[in-house]
Structures are given as C-alpha cells and as structure tokens.
C-alpha cells in the first residue's frame, strides 16, 4: 500500500473531528476542507467543526473492494447528509448491510479504517453508525 504517514497526520483533524472549511463570504461549508471556497471562490475560509449527526442520503454495499480492504468486505458505504446539510462519504458501521435504509439516522464515530500491512500502521477515520431512534 502507498499510505503515507505525514499525509494522514496532516488530515487527521478533518478525519477524526469532521473539520471542514466555512466560507466567510458566502457561508457555505466544504467537506473535504478546501483552501478556497469552491462555491464562490473566496479566499476567506475558516475551520468549521461539522455536526456529528445526520441521515443516509444514499448507500451501497461494496463487494469488490480495493486492495487493502479485503477484511472490511462487504463494505457498506454511505453518503451522509449531516444536520447542517453538509454531505460526507464514509463507511457505515455497527449495522448489517441489509438493515441500511435511505433516510436512516446516523452519527459519527471514530473507527479503524485500514492498516498498512507492511509497516504495521493503523489508520483511523470517521464512520457512521445508526442512532438509537432509527
């Protein structure tokens, strides 16, 4: 695998705490975070922590996974709309593939995402699990 430690170290606030960028000009939030606002082009952006709850806007169950993800197959991937309307692509966890439904309430948790077999490094990131009320 070609995971790089400095790279994921740089990104870890975004992955661990769902940090995006808010545009000071148009107010829109980007996740993934971006140096400039992709919507209005403004250079004035600031970090913004996203809400950790949302609902499933779409989902898929991936049976043919990329190298390095065999142990997570089948991988349930969600397109989540957070409470403030920002969208996040992330795996769903603590749920059986056949139980997932569009509209289901979910919340963000920190989970192991992949491992670098050669160097023994474990990478963590955000996954979403069903909320109690679903």
């Amino acid at each position: 695998m070609k995971l790089s430690i400095p790279r994921f170290w740089r990104e870890k606030a975004a992955h661990y705490r769902l940090i995006g960028t808010r545009c000071k000009s148009c107010g829109r939030i980007s996740y993934p975070p971006k140096p400039l606002c992709p919507y209005c082009g403004s250079r004035e952006t600031e970090e913004a922590e996203l809400p950790r709850r949302g609902r499933v806007l779409s989902y898929t169950v991936i049976y043919t996974v990329p190298d390095g993800f065999r142990k997570y197959a089948p991988l349930v991937l969600g397109l989540i709309e957070l409470e403030n309307g920002v969208r996040v692509v992330a795996p769903l966890t603590d749920v059986m593939p056949e139980e997932v439904r569009t509209g289901m309430g979910v919340e963000a948790v920190l989970r192991r995402v992949q491992e670098d077999g050669e160097h023994g490094v474990i990478y963590y990131g955000v996954k979403f699990r069903p909320t109690m009320e679903y």
Partner: protein, 388 residues
Amino acid sequence: MRWLAVRRVYVVGVGMTSIGRHYKRGMRDLFAEAALQAIDDVRGEKPQALVVGNMLSSSMGEQDGLGALLADSVGLRGIPAFKVEAACGSGGAAFFAGYNLVASGMFDVVLVAGVEKMTEHVTSTVTRALAQAADAEYELFYGASFTGLNALLMRYYMEKYGVSREEMAAWPVLMHENASQNPFAQLRFKITVEQVLNAMVVADPITLLDSSPMGDGAAAVVIASEEVARKLSDTPVRVAGLGLATDSVDLSTRLELDDLAAARLAAEKAYRMAGIEARDVDVVEVHDAFTITGVLSVEALGFAEKGEAARLVAEGRFRPGDRPEVNLSGGLKARGHPVGATGVYQVAEIAMQLRGDFPGVKAGNAEIGVAENIGGHGATISVVVLRR
C-alpha cells in the same frame, strides 16, 4: 472567453484495436496497431506531434513518459510528445490538447492516441488504481471503490425520480445489442433485463452487467489543419465544437448529486462553438462507465430532461434509427472501456459514423455527431462535436 475560429481542424485518420484481454500484447504493441492504422488512413503522412491519453500506466505499469516512449515505438522518435491524464477522461482531454496544437498553427498534422493495459493485474489491484479517479484522501482512504461511488449516485437517482431497477437495466441491454455488431467491441453478446438484475452485485445496486468490463485497447486519430486535410483524406470530418469542463473530484461538495454539471458546461461550450443545439445532434457516444453514468450523460447533454433518460431508454428511445442514436458502438458498457483510451475510441467512432465506414451499427445519414468522455465520477468532462 472568446472562441476565435482561427484555424479549422479536421479528423482525417482513425485507427483502433479490438478491446479485450490482450495478455500477449503490451502497451507498445497495442498503441502501434492503432497508430499505424490511423497513419495509413492518411496515406502514410508522418504526424508532427503526438498526444497520448492514458490513466493507469503510472500507477499500475510503473511507466511514465509515455509520450516519448510511444513515439519511439512507432518510428517517430524526436517528435514533440506528451501524455495527458484526466483519469477515465484522459482520452478526451488528450484530444482537447491535441486540437489546440493544430488550431494554434504550430502543427498541421497531429496524432492523438489513447492506450490502456488493464488486465495485467488482479481485480482488487485494478479496483484500487481506478479509485484514484476519486478523492484519495476522503474517498479511496475509506475503501470507496469507483463502482461504489457510482452506486451511491445510482441509488440516489432511482429513489429521487422513482426509476425502477428494470428501467435502469434497459441501458445495458441496448448497449449489448449495439455492441453485438461491432467487431472491435469487447462484449459482443446480447443480454436481457433479467440477466442484468441477476448478475453478480459489484456494489449494490450496480451489478456486473451495469459495469463496463476491464479490457486492453488503443485508439488513435490523426487531426489536421484545413490546409492539409483534403490532401490527407477524401472524407475529412470537421471538429466543429469542443468543450472541456470540470467539477469537484469528491462527491460530497457537488452542488447537485444527480447533475453532471461539467458535462452541461462542456456541452454548452461545444454546441455554441459549433453553432448547434442538442436537438441537431444525429449520433452520439456517451461515457456509460456504469448504467447511471450513461443515463446522467444523456440528460446533461440535453437529450432528455432530468430524471427521464432511463425511462426513455426503457421505452425504446435512443436506439438505432432514433435521433440521436446513442452509443452505436455499444458504449463503454459493451464496446469496452480501456479507461485512458476510451475518449479517443469515441471520437474515432463518431468520425467513422460521419464518414459512413463504421463497421458496426451504422448511423442513418448522420451529419452532426458528439462524443462525451468523463474523468472521475463527473470531475473532468470533454464534449466534441464533429460535423461531416
């Protein structure tokens, strides 16, 4: 932005290999077959420059510098050459770059080629390499395959517009029907709606028969300035319009999930430059890497309203004899999708349709044709308008 028609550019020669699992043939061989066909098609005229579209050679093949490598492999050592990469849209982007080399007046005859070797590695390795078309840090990092990301779009589209799985399946059925006549196609057999629904699930709701197959292939076109086009070909096809546009690489920050904004933008530019509207198009090759990609493309190019394309296909639209005729080659779905080469296959196929010598299902007296090529799940999209 100004669209000076400084210099007209023509497609004057075409060449392509069959698409398939060419275990016995390397990248150089496949490229040489397509390139020499295209050069023969212009009476042996030597191209003055080469632009190569390719996606996977850097990540899977450990070979960079394809421009020089491939020029040298067909006896063109010395000529200007470089590679263009825009993921699965590399071929169309290479055509865009090549067009400008002629339009600028710097060259009269340029070879644009696309080449891809996809079958050297096991599926999970290719799956990982193809996922480089998505956001490495926020999509691939989480195990999202490229098929998985498109599956998110497919479910979203079906639920938003109330389109059934059966209606969606009409797309691949039509594609296989068209491909069955195309001698270059990878999948030359017909399929049924039931077979699509019952095929192995790759990433729910996308089945194996919603997906383009993995194949090796190369395609090439020779483009030329007006001054020389008539000398090189009796049937030059004019590049009447050209557009390239981008969108976010990540899915999350798209303005609308079911809209290929870059395709709309690229088509708008290409149509305006050509002085046409969507209804003027006779024949089109769209980028149906997956069923959903084909459906969204038909809508973004202006051939159907949003949410309607899949149903229209199920009702019998876009078949041979309709207008526009869509993917007479069989599309990525069944002609095949050697990723970085696909955009060049499409331009070559449309040129052949307008010349009247496409060896598969022929368009009925087509005058205006369009090729649309997508990189990523909508990130880089090129639209080419060719005119007889």
